[in-house]
């Protein structure tokens, strides 16, 4: 599973736990805080992604950015992914 799929799957789990009903799939330009995710939900998303992917891009950022949209969020993860040695 790639980063995008992991993000989408965990995001949907968290929204389901929060009993947020999605009328349509979350688009790339959706503002994260408007998806029904509050800052606590956002924190849970980042922590669960860390346990699945093994890194948290918001811990050691050279150029700190707090993403607004889903696409920005995914790109933060993609650009901070540790290089595979194999």
């Amino acid at each position: 599973m790639g980063i995008r799929e992991k993000v989408m799957s965990i995001l949907q789990d968290i929204l389901a736990e929060k009993k947020v009903l999605l009328r349509e799939p979350i688009a790339d330009d959706a503002i994260l805080l408007n998806t029904g995710l509050d800052s606590l939900g956002f924190a849970v998303l980042v922590i669960r992604l860390e346990s699945e992917l093994g890194f948290d891009p918001f811990v050691e950022m050279k150029d700190p950015i707090y993403p607004r949209t889903l696409a920005e969020f995914i790109s933060v993860y993609e650009s901070h992914e540790p290089k595979q040695s194999e």
Partner: protein, 457 residues
């Protein structure tokens, strides 16, 4: 004679309005009108409790009561009727002032709305204030939510304003209020704007953060205080680009280097200050160098008005000349015999800085809200599938800390992913969201998994 908030108000040059919210604005004339009414006589020498969901009414009430009431209990705006009642009983309140009807047995209650002055010449505040008799009012501030009942900390106007700076550099500053005005952090913003004669913007805290930021930007807010978690949220809104800030303040939880960097890159012109404070000790100190933690040199050369020390176990200790003396109804003082206050926070030296590790009693700070592990543990233990549970904190790059639970199940054959959902759902039905574990891990041995964490007493 005691110099009350009314005297301060009469003596400061004012903007047209003191406060602006999305629905109303309050001028000094409205306050003069109110003070000359009979409410002030009503509360003279009495123990009064204040409750308002509208921050403007709460602010008016504080000004009305300071100098008149013997004690003023500040009730947080998120309390329900039961919570209001419990605190009023604890404080022995005789009168409750509220912006809604509150019926409490044995306590007089009044509702207050802000008078509107139209069609005639407004009263002069200085005329109303001259000849006013005042007493030093005790300000009673509840500590934030714990498993048990909150404690009531006894403050004075002097102990609440030790960190308030009146300076010409704040002239024309427009302040924004994102906190509950009657809580300690909100009071700091309130006093800072009030004492400097500046305008305070009060966005509707029940709307989303983007809307609040848009309101602040529309009214050209230049000084804003928020928790690191709130700041991360603010930076996630597009509206944050509309803010032209000169002063940025962070408080209520540990400020990490990332949020300090992110703020200084988005607002390169602004002063950025993070504050160490608690309801008991008041404001400890402020750090202005845009780096996390505080310099070790503060122990030898403390910032203004406060002595700082770190004991052998890493406890941060403060000594201040003026601070809250005690909890209401308890005779013991908040400080020890030599005047030191143990903050309960543990720090560690790293490269010439003291960094904050957490609370010694294991309390978890989730975006500024306190969680006691024992409460979450007892809720999880209500489930028959669970044999043992240990709750602790896990660092979060977004909200500072989150709740983490380690559980040992009675039957190891249990489908754990299914049980995890059940535990989360059970916690969610019994606890507010910030207390629900963000991570639930199955384990067979509680002790080893929690080794290395802070000792909980």
């Amino acid at each position: 004679m005691y110099t009350s908030l009314l005297h301060v108000l009469a003596g400061t040059v004012r903007e047209k309005f003191l406060w602006i919210s999305e629905t109303a604005a309050v001028s000094a004339a409205a306050i003069a009108e109110l003070v000359s009414g009979n409410e002030r006589t009503l509360i003279a020498g009495k123990r009064v409790a204040l409750f308002s969901r509208d921050p403007q009414v709460a602010a008016v009430l504080m000004i009305l009561c300071d100098g008149a009431a013997s004690e003023m209990l500040l009730l947080p705006s998120d309390l329900d009727a039961e919570g209001i009642h419990a605190l009023c009983i604890m404080a022995g309140s005789e009168i409750v002032f509220a912006d809604t009807e509150i019926a409490l047995e044995g306590i007089q209650s009044f509702t207050l709305s802000i008078p509107v002055v139209v069609g005639r010449r407004p009263l002069s505040l200085s005329a109303v204030v001259s000849g006013l008799r005042t007493i030093e009012t005790r300000w009673i501030i509840p500590t934030s939510g714990t498993t048990e009942r909150p404690k009531l900390v006894v403050h004075t106007l002097a102990s609440l304003t030790t960190a308030t700076i009146v300076s010409s550099k704040y002239e024309g500053m427009i302040w924004g209020l994102l906190y509950d005005v009657v809580r300690f952090a909100g009071l700091q913003v309130f006093f800072q704007s009030f004492m400097n004669g500046g305008l305070l913007l009060m966005p509707d805290r029940t709307t989303n953060i983007a809307g609040q930021v848009a309101f602040l930007a529309k009214h050209t807010c230049s000084a804003l205080s928020a928790t690191p978690t709130q700041w991360r949220k603010i930076l996630m809104t597009g509206e944050s680009q509309l803010l032209a800030l000169q002063q940025i303040t962070l408080g209520g939880e540990r400020a990490d280097q990332n949020i300090l960097n992110a703020l200084s890159s988005q607002y390169p012109e602004a002063n950025i200050t993070h504050i160490y404070a608690s309801t008991e000790a008041g404001v400890g100190f402020a750090i202005h160098d845009k780096r996390e933690g505080f310099p070790v040199s503060y122990v030898q050369q403390p910032p203004r008005g406060v002595e700082i020390s770190v004991d052998a176990d890493g406890f941060l200790m403060l000594r201040k000349e003026i601070h809250a003396e005690q909890y209401l109804g308890e005779s013991r003082t908040i400080h020890d015999a030599s005047g030191w206050i143990n903050t309960g926070d543990i720090v560690k030296e790293v490269n010439g800085r003291f960094l904050f590790l957490g609370r010694a009693n294991g309390a978890i700070n989730v975006g500024g809200s306190k969680v006691f592990p024992e409460e979450v543990e007892s809720v999880i233990l209500e489930m028959e599938e669970i044999a043992l549970v240990r709750v602790g904190s896990k660092k979060s790059s977004i909200v500072g800390e989150v709740v983490e639970a380690f559980v040992v199940t009675k039957d190891n054959e249990t489908d754990f992913p299914q049980l995890r959902k059940k535990i989360a759902a059970h916690c969610a039905s019994r606890l507010p969201g910030y207390k629900v574990p963000a991570i639930i891990t199955n384990t067979t041995d509680i002790d080893t998994t929690t080794a290395g964490k802070l000792t909980r007493r």
